[in-house]
Symmetry: C2
Subunit: 331 residues, 2 copies
């Protein structure tokens, strides 16, 4: 029964704490709108005490991607680390209830809690995130699910994994296992501020990435380019397929010598962009493993993203498989 | 600075686990749609494992009422019991962030967690609830905030408090303190199934209740009446003011010899009726302490309710004070 999933995603197991906020609060807290900052437990408490009423929902970039893939009907495994605490239970419940295989046992040997991300959602639907990784920072080579990655067609990692001691080793082990098995390697650059911090670091593994996801800002900062198109050109010299999302302007997909430009899917009212990139990646990965070609894959990414940004929270509330069928993108 | 609140609400401190469900699941779990059932920790785990992905948000009937009163601009105290655990932190954060005074220290001497309510929200916007009270069952006379109740104009209790050993004693102590201070006593009957279980019990305190809230089903079961209007007549012999909510049909308010019938406020799309009664009570209580008269109080109740049922979760997402001003119900 096991190991029949074609996609494995690896990332931080996070519970999101979503709080509608205004620009003034983001500024007063010294945060940079639209980016993610790592904070320790103490800082997280301080910020939390300044936030208004919140709702909690499972998140985590690659975990959101897994939930969207399952919603599209694609069997998928998620690898991430939770603690043996109530937030760990919430995370584990939600990802399994979404239909994702999640086998990682909760870690109780270390005194750290399940990761938590405080998300300030401003009226322009933009999100500003403060993450306390908790036990997630301990995800190491021993947590890599060798059997699943070996059996899969592609392993997708969030860039947030790359930048901490243990998780760096996990990323490198994942790449080693994937390359040995002929499994494709996909990576998301995750966040503009994260790219600024870790660009030389990302540079070390870029040649081993077959499918790279970035938004415009991440792609530009990674390559020191003035615009998305030149960034794509630079990145395409390193990675077989490069996908750059442009928000409301759609996305660019470079595969070999071909460049496709695909529009965004229409959204009545954008409420919360949390999970926009994660859901896009899911749609694209679905197209990738089902051989739908770059353009249709990008359209599926845009469609998944349009569902997720239309409500608070980073995971789909409707069946993405049904949306895709109705849009004529799948049969 | 303290004790200047005119309203105190007392109830269970609960974190809601909201999960979109279908009628089939409610049936398979042996639950009764539209009602609340108490479950132990083991049963709660079993039900939770059958639910789809969920979001967590602070709830609790009287706590929701307090949050709505604060949103209306009325200073208010909430009394309830949380454990020293992450859900207790979530509850405490959210109620304070909503602007409610909440002084109860988390309880760490007893091995029970903060209360949790699994809520299955069906496509008809109806909610079916399974509550594990946790530490809440230990709320007793020692937890009664005598100073705040003495200083207040009215103390509001959820009926869910009345039916367990410790909390029964708390209810009776609250009534004793209120009567000694000339503070009015308000009570909600909370739930039809709860009324079935505890009607003789409620009967013992009904003469001491100045302001009674019930929905049609609760009022009928409490009085063995065939319709709302006759139930109101029976209850009005016991309580100075009786308010019976009729869902989309509005509400009935009986004060002395006067009976007012007030329509519901229009809602584009009812998403989740969790908190409908709690928010109605808040609007009415606001009118009560501000001497707006029964009809305008009922209209404020309907307005608060219309905001809360228009989205997932039991607490307002928009400023009720602003909504009330715009509707011309307050200045």
């Amino acid at each position: 029964m096991e190991n029949n999933e074609r996609v494995v995603t690896v990332g931080h197991a996070i519970v999101d704490v979503l709080s509608p906020s205004d620009d003034g609060l983001v500024e007063r807290l010294g945060l940079h709108k639209g980016t993610m900052a790592l904070v320790d437990g103490e800082k997280a408490e301080l910020i939390y005490s300044s936030l208004g009423p919140a709702t909690e929902a499972s998140g985590g970039s690659a975990a959101n991607t897994a939930a969207c893939l399952a919603s599209l009907g694609e069997p998928v495994v998620f690898v991430g680390k939770v603690a043996a605490d109530p937030l760990g239970k919430v995370f584990s419940h939600d990802i399994r209830a979404a239909g994702v295989r999640f086998d990682s046992a909760p870690e109780s040997r270390v005194d750290a809690g399940t990761g938590r991300c405080l998300i300030l959602v401003t009226p322009d639907a933009e999100k500003t995130m403060c993450t306390n990784l908790g036990i997630g920072a301990m995800l190491g080579p021993a947590d890599v699910d060798v059997a699943s990655i070996t059996a899969a067609e592609i392993v997708y990692m969030e860039g947030y994994l790359y930048g901490e001691r243990h998780t760096d080793q996990a990323v490198e082990e994942i790449i080693r296992v994937a390359k040995a098995a002929g499994t494709k390697v996909a990576l998301s650059l995750s966040d503009p501020a994260w790219v600024d911090l870790n660009a030389p670091h990302f540079d070390r593994i870029l040649d081993q990435v077959d499918l790279l996801f970035a938004n415009e800002e991440e792609a530009r900062r990674m390559t020191d380019s003035g615009d998305a198109q030149s960034a794509v050109e630079v990145l395409a010299e390193r990675c077989e397929t490069v996908v750059v999302t442009l928000g409301a302007q759609g996305s660019l997909v470079r595969t070999g010598r071909d460049l496709a430009r695909v529009p965004a899917a229409p959204v009545d009212h954008v409420v919360d962009t949390t999970g926009a990139g994660d859901s896009y990646a899911a749609g694209f990965l679905y197209g990738f493993v089902n051989d739908l070609g770059p353009e249709r894959s990008a359209r599926l990414g845009a469609l998944a993203s349009s569902e997720v940004v239309s409500h608070l929270g980073a995971r789909p509330l409707r069946s993405l498989a049904e949306l895709a069928r109705r849009s004529g993108l799948t049969v």
